[in-house]
Symmetry: C2
Subunit: 227 residues, 2 copies
């Protein structure tokens, strides 16, 4: 089973078609998960959360009552804990619910201490094994993670892509893209950005022998084209 998750990040960063995406997820039988204010956002969008996770300390009593009265499964986290709500969500989704592919919305923008944990929580040694199953989506980016292996990266609806080494990597290569990368090994966070798919190809190739990378697909919004 797959799942769609809504975190509490600012609505301005949501994909424009978030409601349609959630509708399609529900119709496909995916689990809908709301974390903290994200659980309220789900309800406001017309979706009952199958699972709500958080300390919910930013919700007013009537908002919390709404979440508690509708969600099928509620997991309360405690402040001053070792795991953040975002990590807790990953642990419950992949561990308890055995989710295959987890698609996360509301992870970016706003408070960057939150965005950091949303982007890097998967590096927690207890969660890292699920890295290939996690995708973050916002209005102009799609982020996924790849451990050692060989992959085909499909273009989808994005113009650019970048690869960021989040753990020491060995023999990271990019082939059949605008900028190919010869086998690169390195031990610090390094981003290979602003790469593009070739016009005549719908995909390129990524491989690494060791390590973990984030792949960021991105596109320009209309902002600059209109200017």
């Amino acid at each position: 089973m797959d799942a769609a998750v809504l975190l509490g990040g600012p609505k301005e960063e949501w994909p424009a078609d978030l409601k349609d995406r959630l509708k399609r997820a529900r119709e496909a039988g995916d689990l809908l998960i709301g974390v903290d204010r994200g659980a309220l956002f789900l309800l406001e969008l017309g979706f009952k959360p199958d699972l709500a996770i958080g300390d919910f300390d930013s919700l007013k009593p009537d908002e919390l009552a709404w979440v508690e009265g509708t969600a099928d499964d509620i997991r309360y986290s405690v402040p001053k804990k070792d795991w953040t709500d975002s990590e807790l969500m990953l642990g419950i989704a992949f561990g308890d619910y055995q989710i295959d592919q987890l698609r996360v919305y509301g992870a970016t923008g706003g408070r960057l201490d939150h965005a950091a944990i949303n982007a890097f929580g998967i590096l927690n040694p207890e969660l890292r094994k699920y890295a290939n199953q996690l995708t973050l989506v916002d209005k102009q980016n799609l982020i996924f993670y790849r451990q050692a292996g060989s992959y085909e990266l499909k273009r989808q609806d994005y113009t650019y892509f970048g690869v960021t080494c989040l753990m020491p990597v060995e023999d990271l290569t990019i082939q059949e893209a605008l900028y190919d990368l010869a086998p690169y090994s390195g031990d610090y966070i390094r981003s290979f950005t602003s790469n593009e798919f070739l016009p005549e190809k719908d995909s390129c190739k990524l491989s690494l022998k060791k390590g973990l990378v984030a792949v960021v697909y991105s596109k320009d919004l209309d902002r600059y084209q209109q200017a």
Copy 2:
């Protein structure tokens, strides 16, 4: 000499008082640097760039002519290069101009492959020595970097702070904050988030024996309070 830098990130993420900040920087004799579209943004805000850096490939001919006709120093980067424009800027500012404190605007939001290189470019082994001199500022976050050492973190105008390990750390500690951190050592990107200053204190203490961390100060915008 200090410097203020404007990168090409979306205006929606700028601090609300960016123009005042740049005005004060100019009055203080700080260097004003524009990178790519950020050079044009500086001009649109009424500030002549002392230094403009980039390939400027997103500018129209008349926009580029405006930058070229006003900036005192222009450094052209070439596509398909080893260093991104953001890294090139750090190298020129700290290397050529011997900047003491560099304050960067326009680094966040928009394309996250850009945001990643803006946040992590300082980890480039040739630039890492300048990490303590770099600060990124957007509308609700302030990010700075700290190498091995003992530091006092001043509250400033923010509610929360988080610390993210960007390189393997030894004995990272946080003291005199809401959530103290006992000496932590670890070798992966880990974020200690949603910490707060104590009400009775204007600062807390951070130390690490080895490694490099990003400190993220953040605050809630009015969005949720009004909701």
